[in-house]
Each structure stands twice: as structure tokens, then as C-alpha cells.
């Protein structure tokens, strides 16, 4: 057997899942399983301790919906990447970004909530959601719902003990967004880094630009210096040429050197290119 034994639970509602989850010890929530089950296999091989209980969230309908609602798009935590890519409610630009992540099977299995909460380096969605100023809704042991920004969530070192239920991407107008990951050609590789840039684009200028960077760690960060320099500039190739020499990777990744530092600059520049192109094509 690839996995150590555990008790499997399949609650039908969020309430039932939460009651179980907060009551039991040595327990893990199972979303798409692409991360958890793989790591449990590795743990077994290495002789590490594994959980006694697994609570599958697959049978909870309220975690699977994608809805347009006032103030934005609401994505249930158990929505898979494939669900999002297929949904007409999701903007074309976001769908194009999601297509770059994982393989077909991983996109069919992996969930938005699982990707955000596992806090592994390939939590690529975190970088994107932070850039889009997304809000994350959680359910805590007291039975309360609360919301925090993706940025607040990723600023915390520890993994959350609460249950992520929904992700809200503000709207209604979609922000222009660009994404870049290295390596570009192999979606399977844990990226060396990834960049996501989003901006309001009133009157063809950058407004409220958010640049987030996944440095290959579990903590995506902002690159505020460049954001400030971009705001107010027109969305043109000339702006990109003007900005390119100003990109200073040491500002957000002090230890980057050589190749990675060089590629950060190119990555940020190309993300801006993607953003402008995407905005032109879809906006």
C-alpha cells in the first residue's frame, strides 16, 4: 500500500466537516489530493508520522460553486482549476493564467482552495490571487466566518488551522493581469519564480498596480517600489522600455544573484507585456 492507514470521512456539509475537523486530532483536510496524498506517500516511505484522519471535502456542494456576485467573483474552495478554466464567469485572462499551471490531470484534480492553503512553493494561485486583491473567507472552530485579504493570509508564517471556504476576486470590471513563470515550457516544474501583475486600467494608464512575486518559497511578496513607479503611466510598450532599467530584483529578493536576478527582470518586463496584450485582446 502506498499510504499508511487512516480513517476516511466524507461529510456532506461544511458544518459537518468543520465539526469533525475541529474535534479530531491528527487530522488533515483532503481537497484535490495532488499535494496531500503525494506528501503522505513520501512520509510513509521516509517513516514519518502520518495523520489518523482524513476528511474529504469533495461531497460538500457549497464549496464547489462559482458565482458572480456583487463586488466580484466568488469561487468555492473546492472548485478545480479545470472548473475555473471552463467557466464563462471567469475572465479570459484569469483562465489563460490557470491553463499554464500544472498538467491536464493536475488541473482536473487540483482545487483553488487546496492550492492556496497547502503553502507549498508551487502555490501559484497565491501569487495570482494576491495580485488580484482577492479576499479569502474562512470558517473557524467557533463556527464563525471571517474574511481576510490574500496578502494578509500569505503574510502569516504558519499554515492556517481554519477552513478556507471561498475566494472572492473583486470586480465587476476585471483588472488587467499578466503572469510569467520560469520555466515557461514545463508546467510541471516547481517554478524558479513566478510574477503576477494586475492593474486598474482606467483611461489606458496603470492604476492601483499590484506586483506579486513567488520567489520559489511559500511566501509570495509585493514589489511596491515598481508599483509606485508604474501608477499613472500609460499602458504602452514605451512605458515598459522605460521601466525595464528600473527593475531591481534585490528589492524583493535580496539574495538573488546571477541568472535568477537577470530572469526576474525579464520576467517582470514580459509580465507587463502580457498584461498590455491581454488587456488589448480581452479588455
Amino acid at each position: 500500500m502506498d499510504l499508511n492507514p487512516f480513517q476516511y470521512h466524507a461529510p456532506q456539509s461544511l458544518k459537518e466537516a468543520a465539526d469533525l475537523y475541529f474535534k479530531l486530532s491528527q487530522v488533515k483536510l483532503l481537497a484535490g489530493g495532488t499535494m496531500l496524498l503525494n506528501s503522505l506517500k513520501t512520509a510513509k516511505k521516509k517513516g514519518l508520522k502520518t495523520p489518523q484522519h482524513i476528511i474529504s471535502l469533495k461531497r460538500i456542494p457549497e464549496l464547489k460553486d462559482i458565482r458572480r456576485e456583487e463586488g466580484g467573483l466568488s469561487i468555492g474552495a473546492m472548485t478545480t482549476f479545470a472548473d475555473l478554466i471552463r467557466s464563462p464567469l471567469v475572465s479570459q485572462e484569469l483562465r489563460n493564467i490557470l491553463r499554464q499551471i500544472g498538467t491536464t490531470q493536475i488541473r482536473n484534480m487540483g482545487t483553488a482552495g487546496g492550492n492556496l492553503t497547502c503553502r507549498y512553493t508551487w502555490t501559484e494561485l497565491g501569487t495570482v490571487m494576491m495580485s488580484l486583491n482577492a479576499l479569502l473567507s474562512f470558517y473557524n472552530p467557533k463556527g464563525e466566518s471571517y474574511t481576510e485579504t490574500a496578502a494578509e493570509f500569505f503574510a502569516k508564517q504558519a499554515k492556517t488551522k481554519d477552513i478556507l471556504t471561498h475566494i472572492r476576486v473583486p470586480g465587476p470590471e476585471p483588472r488587467a493581469v499578466g503572469y510569467y513563470r520560469l520555466p515557461k515550457t514545463s508546467p510541471l516544474d516547481v517554478p524558479l519564480f513566478a510574477v503576477c501583475i494586475s492593474a486598474e486600467c482606467a483611461k489606458g494608464t496603470f492604476q492601483d498596480t499590484v506586483i506579486t512575486i513567488n520567489r520559489g518559497t511559500s511566501f509570495p511578496c509585493r514589489y511596491r517600489e515598481l508599483e509606485a513607479q508604474l501608477n499613472g503611466k500609460t499602458m504602452t510598450p514605451e512605458t515598459i522600455s522605460e521601466m525595464y532599467p528600473l527593475i531591481q530584483p534585490q528589492a524583493f529578493d535580496p539574495h538573488c544573484e546571477g541568472y535568477k536576478g537577470h530572469m526576474y527582470k525579464i520576467g517582470i518586463r514580459d509580465t507587463l507585456k502580457n498584461l498590455i496584450k491581454g488587456h488589448r485582446d480581452h479588455g
Binding site: 502506498d2 499510504l3 476516511y8 466524507a10 489530493g33 498538467t103 491536464t104 508546467p187 510541471l188
Partner: protein, 162 residues
């Protein structure tokens, strides 16, 4: 740990099996039901050899808990062809010489079938993208891509005829 009587719908057949929570779909298919067409070459979600379709979508059975897919429609390579007649995707892989050692083929064929169900006339890039979760070490992929296109034609021809 307790065994629970679980109902799995595999290849349009209902199986009632006493399962433990930690058994993967791959283990249940191969070791309990004897459907050994589903392979595994890495057991870490990288190679795609363990691919099966769940409700028409390709998933990796090596990281799927069998209990987690209770009641859902599971298709393995053994369920693709009807009786003696090959499914058009199988026929196309055979005719186009897309098969060498065959170990990746069950998964590759199922992923191709899932693609063609959504997109009957895929372009090269779409095919490359949809089989990006599979490793083939023998054949260099080109003949598989040709086979998927040809399978699309075979399916269209079949539909026209019926």
C-alpha cells in the same frame, strides 16, 4: 482501520467492495478488481501512466482515494472498447504506429479520448497540452499526436455513418 462497503462504478459495472480509507484507486483497480491495464511508473503524480477518467475527466488514480470516487463514473482502458471492436482512439493509435512499449498507452489513450470528447478536431498544440501529463520514453510523441487527430476523423466518420 475499518473496512467500509463501497460502491464503485467502473466501466459501467457496479462493484461493491469492502475498502479501507487509505486505498488508492490505482491499488483497488489493479490488486482487487484485476484491471491491470492501468499502470503506474512513478507513484508521484508525474508520469500519467495511472490516468483514468472520472466523469469524463482525466485524473491520476495513484493519488485518488478509492472511497473518494464512490458513485462516480470511472472509466479505465478496459472499458473503452466494446466487445471485439476497438474504440476509434485505440484504432488510431494502432494504425498510426503510435505504440511502442505500450506502458504509457492506456493513460495516453484515455487522455486523448477525454480531449476528443470536448474537442473533436484538436490542433497540434491542444493535443500537446492535453497529453502534457504523460511521459512516453519510447516514441517521441509525434505519432501519438497524429493518432489523436486521426482518431478525431474516425469518430467523425463513424458519426456520419450512423
Amino acid at each position: 482501520m475499518d473496512k467500509k462497503l463501497t460502491t464503485l462504478h467502473i466501466n459501467k459495472t457496479k462493484y461493491q467492495l469492502p475498502l479501507e480509507g487509505h486505498e488508492t484507486l490505482l491499488e483497488v483497480l489493479r490488486d482487487q478488481i484485476g484491471l491491470t491495464g492501468t499502470k503506474s511508473a512513478c507513484s508521484e503524480a508525474e508520469c500519467g501512466a495511472c490516468t483514468v477518467l472520472i466523469d469524463g475527466q482525466s485524473v491520476l488514480s495513484c493519488i485518488t482515494l478509492a472511497c473518494d470516487v464512490e458513485g462516480r463514473d470511472i472509466l479505465t482502458i478496459e472499458g473503452l472498447s466494446q466487445n471485439e471492436e476497438l474504440h476509434p482512439v485505440q484504432q488510431a493509435f494502432l494504425e498510426k504506429g503510435a505504440v511502442q512499449c505500450g506502458f504509457c498507452i492506456p493513460g495516453m489513450i484515455l487522455s486523448s479520448h477525454a480531449l476528443l470528447s470536448e474537442n473533436p478536431q484538436p490542433e497540434t498544440e491542444q493535443i500537446q497540452k492535453s497529453i502534457d501529463g504523460h511521459i512516453c520514453r519510447c516514441a517521441g510523441y509525434h505519432k501519438m499526436i497524429d493518432a489523436v487527430k486521426y482518431a478525431g476523423e474516425l469518430i467523425a466518420k463513424k458519426e456520419r455513418e450512423s
